[in-house]
Structure formats: structure tokens, C-alpha cells
């Protein structure tokens, strides 16, 4: 089903996962190649976030194989092995990402210095470069509470990048933002993907997914019901369910978002 390739950095095979009684993932297969961007779309509760959390070893599936850059994630036994994996896989969530008691700079510097043991000076230098990349150089000394949602989310991305991950996971990073600030965050992600960052994105921004993805995956009910190039998924509409889903979103808030995206490109 998936394009098997030696360049695969992430490979999920037949992942099954339940929380108590509820089956959340019912056999997920997914391959992501180095340098690619994969978007996961699908209705709420279909298991999108859970897939990302499996890849980052935040949850462990009951069945199936997960390989991330040579590591068998499903077989990691100890917390320290899982931590070692997480250093290589960055993740950015929808909300409350930043540590509110630390300045922007300290938010970014904390993990490299405390986890990787990088010297403070070096970590700060990298942090400032990353802040430049996410266009927030002037906010280094601000606290998260003083930033808009979009700015916070960009800092969260910079913080994930500060660990120099091989792969970054984005879980609906713009869902909690007001329409005005969605564009700036998506702009930053677009730049990163153009620079060759491998990434998996869960998103509701269809236009954006279409624009930046190499592959789009549609999930429903814990299964991947369709996948392919953006053109195949968004324009062929083999699957009436996807048509309905994408159509519904585009008619609603999709229009507003698209403008914001285009503004920045």
C-alpha cells in the first residue's frame, strides 16, 4: 500500500491501538521519506493526533511496527530510550506549548542545554538564529503571555527545531489561532519544508496541505482510507467521503484561511 523505499525515515506497519475499550487506531500503514512532507487530514477523533503520538513514543501501540530512522519505536522498553528518540523527533502541539514562566529565549534554550548538554552560549546563538527564521528576533526577552497565539506557535516551532530533529511533527498547530495569525505560522512551516525539513502535519488547512505536501493521507475511524499526491486527493475525489469532508471545510472557514495563506506567500 505504501511506497516502500530505502530512504524512508518513518515507517508504520499495521499499528493498532486502544485506550481501554475504545479502538483508536485499527491498522495504520504509513511511510515518510526523508525530506518529504506528509499531511494527515480527516475528521475529528479519527486518530490523527494518536498517530503522531505513536511516532514520538508518547503512546505505545498494542500491535504493529514503528520504525523511525532505524529505531524500532514500538520496542523501546525504557523511558530513557524513548527520551532518546524524542530528541530526534520534534513535535509541536495545538496549544499551551510554551513554558509560561520562561522568556522566549529561555524556552528555546532550555532543552538543548538541559537535555543535550549544549553550552549556554552556543545554545543561545542557535536560538537567536531560529528566532530570526521564525521572524521573532525582537521577542527574545518577552514572556509567552505577552505574545499573540501565532507568535507563541512560531516560538514553539523554533523550540522544536533547537533540538535539531530529523523529523518534525505538527499537530494542528493553527487550530487554536485566530484567523489573522494563522497565515504567519503556516508561512514559517512552508519555509521549513522548502528548506528540506522532513515533516508530518495534521492540519485542517486544506489549501495549505495541498500546497506543501508531497503526500496527503486521509484518516477515518482509525484507518487510512485514502492517500496519494495532493492533486489526487483534492481534485480527483474518487472517495465521496473525502469530497464531502474537503468540501465542507472549504465552504466554511476554508475561504478565510486561504486568504491568510496567500498573503504570506
Amino acid at each position: 500500500m505504501n511506497t516502500k523505499s530505502d530512504d524512508a525515515i518513518v515507517r508504520l506497519e499495521d499499528i493498532h491501538l486502544s485506550f481501554g475499550q475504545t479502538e483508536v487506531l485499527r491498522g495504520i500503514d504509513l511511510t515518510v521519506n526523508r525530506g518529504n512532507a506528509v499531511s494527515i487530514i480527516g475528521p475529528s477523533g479519527s486518530g490523527k493526533s494518536t498517530i503522531l503520538r505513536c511516532i514520538n513514543a508518547l503512546v505505545t501501540p498494542q500491535r504493529g511496527r514503528i520504525t523511525v530512522g532505524g529505531t524500532r519505536v514500538d520496542q523501546l522498553a525504557t523511558e530513557s530510550e524513548r527520551i532518546a528518540l524524542r530528541k530526534r523527533v520534534g513535535i509541536v502541539f495545538q496549544q499551551y506549548n510554551l513554558f509560561p514562566h520562561l522568556t522566549v529565549l529561555d524556552n528555546i534554550v532550555l532543552a538543548p542545554t538541559r537535555i543535550l548538554g549544549v553550552a549556554r552560549g552556543e545554545a543561545e546563538k542557535l536560538a537567536r538564529e531560529l528566532l530570526e527564521k521564525v521572524r521573532l528576533s525582537e521577542k527574545a526577552g518577552a514572556y509567552p503571555g505577552q505574545l499573540s497565539g501565532g507568535q507563541q506557535q512560531r516560538v514553539a516551532i523554533a523550540r522544536a527545531l533547537a533540538m535539531k530533529p530529523e523529523l518534525v511533527l505538527f499537530d494542528e498547530v493553527t487550530s487554536a489561532l485566530d484567523p489573522e495569525t494563522v497565515g504567519e505560522v503556516l508561512g514559517v512551516i512552508r519555509d521549513l519544508i522548502r528548506d528540506g525539513m522532513t515533516s508530518i502535519l495534521v492540519t485542517h488547512e486544506m489549501r495549505f496541505a495541498e500546497e506543501i505536501s508531497d503526500t496527503v493521507v486521509f484518516t477515518e475511524n482509525g484507518r487510512i482510507v485514502d492517500h496519494g499526491s495532493p492533486a489526487e486527493i483534492f481534485h480527483t475525489f474518487d472517495n465521496p467521503r473525502i469530497r464531502q469532508f474537503v468540501g465542507g471545510l472549504a465552504g466554511g472557514r476554508g475561504t478565510v484561511r486561504t486568504e491568510a495563506v496567500q498573503e504570506l506567500s
Binding site: R86, I91, F93, Q95, N97, F99
Partner: protein
């Protein structure tokens, strides 16, 4: 410390107001009373760090998620919160202390003094209250912030150290300051086991001299001032730690 001239002037002036501080001009009573203030201050200075450190430990146990860590602390918290501190203190000093003595083979080997027991009982009692406040603070840290930290690769301990505790401490600071004010007030129970803090010293004086009102005014002022200072310092720390856009 007190020049005798000033003392007699003070005694004279207050006497005209109908207050009786004559004992200040005498021997051992004045000494006991002055030492009482120092003992109280010393107790407070010692108890504040003790209660905070023990409170942190308790909170760590309560939130560890391991039953054999949380259950004993939980039990202790419940007992200490729901029985009078005075009785706890007398029980500890008169009963537990004897057990300790028997354990170490006689009272002469027992290094535990009444002072120790006040620090232990009051300190741990307040620590239990701190722990509850800190636990509430830790539980108030948004789960997604913790997950974000996990996602970056922090270990459980690191998350506690760099994320949960700093945030929980800020959230629980008002409650902690309130507990510290209670701590200051609680030091007075020490008189029941002959720790010569200020109320003990005052009892020693007024049982001989019938000048309760005079002494009471001083004690109330004394505690008001200490608690004013504690509240002010608490407010200062709160401001100092305040983070824009977080909490109150």
C-alpha cells in the same frame, strides 16, 4: 540590649497608662521574657525553610503516582490536618520521645529536645498544608504543557524540575504565604512543652505578676508585625516571580 535608664523610663511611662512592665527591671523574669522573643523569632526562622522543604517532599510523594509513596503521606496529611496541633505536640513530646529514648537505650542518649519536637510537629503540619497547595498547583499545570515538554524529550524528573514545580510554585504561592502566617501563629503551642517562646515566657511572668493585659498588648503587636512582614515578603516574592500573562 536594654539600657537600664531606658527600661525604667519605659516602665514609668507605661505605668502612667495603667500598664505594668515592672518585671523588666528585675532579674530572671525580664531575661526569660526577652529570650522569649528571640526564641520565637528563631523558631520561625527555622520553621519556614523546614516546612517548605518538607512540603516539597510531601508534594513530590503525593503526585508521584506511586501508591507506596503517596499513601503514607496522604495518611499523615489527613491526621495532621484533622487533629489539634497541641495534642500532636504533647503526644509527640511525651510519648514518641519516650519511645525514641527507649530505642536509643535511655534518655541520656536521646538528642531530641522539646525545641526539636516543636520544629518537627509544627514544621510537618505546615508542610502538609504546603504539600496540598503545591499538589493543587501541579495539577493546575495544563496537561498539554506537560506533554509538550515530554515531546521535546524531557524526563519525568526534568519536567517536574523545570516546568511543573516553577509553575506550581507560582500558582500556590498565595496559599503558601497563608500557611506561613499560620505557622507563625502555631509557634505559640510550644509553650505546652516548655519551649521558652514568647507566650511561655509571658505565662511565666504573669503567673507571678498579674499583668496579663500589658503582656498581651506586646504579644499581639509582636505577632502582627511578624505576620505583616511575612505577608509583605510573600507579596514581594509573588511580584518578583510574576510572569506576564500567567495566572493572577
Amino acid at each position: 540590649m536594654w539600657d537600664s535608664g531606658i527600661t525604667s523610663l519605659f516602665v514609668d511611662l507605661t505605668n502612667r497608662l495603667g500598664l505594668n512592665y515592672e518585671f523588666l527591671a528585675t532579674g530572671y523574669e525580664a531575661q526569660i521574657w526577652r529570650d522569649g522573643f528571640m526564641t520565637t523569632l528563631y523558631l520561625i526562622a527555622l520553621l519556614i525553610p523546614v516546612s517548605l522543604i518538607a512540603g516539597l517532599l510531601f508534594a513530590a510523594c503525593l503526585t508521584s503516582g506511586r501508591l507506596w509513596h503517596s499513601a503514607p503521606v496522604r495518611a499523615f496529611v489527613e491526621i495532621t490536618r484533622n487533629t489539634p496541633t497541641l495534642v500532636q505536640l504533647m503526644f509527640s513530646f511525651l510519648v514518641l520521645n519516650t519511645f525514641v529514648s527507649n530505642l536509643v537505650g535511655g534518655a541520656q542518649n536521646n538528642p531530641l529536645t522539646p525545641f526539636f519536637w516543636v520544629v518537627a510537629v509544627v514544621g510537618l503540619h505546615i508542610a502538609a498544608l504546603h504539600a496540598e497547595a503545591i499538589r493543587a498547583g501541579i495539577e493546575a499545570v495544563p496537561a498539554s504543557t506537560v506533554e509538550a515538554a515530554r515531546g521535546i524529550g524531557f524526563s519525568k524528573l526534568q519536567i517536574l524540575r523545570y516546568v511543573e514545580i516553577p509553575l506550581a510554585f507560582r500558582a500556590s504561592l498565595p496559599a503558601i504565604v497563608n500557611n506561613l502566617i499560620n505557622l507563625v501563629k502555631l509557634t505559640t503551642v510550644g509553650n505546652a512543652i516548655a519551649v521558652s517562646e514568647i507566650t511561655y515566657a509571658s505565662i511565666m511572668v504573669w503567673t507571678q505578676r498579674d499583668n496579663v493585659v500589658s503582656l498581651m498588648i506586646v504579644i499581639l503587636l509582636f505577632f502582627s508585625i511578624i505576620n505583616l512582614v511575612v505577608a509583605r515578603v510573600g507579596l514581594w516574592v509573588e511580584r518578583k516571580l510574576a510572569v506576564p500573562g500567567y495566572g493572577l
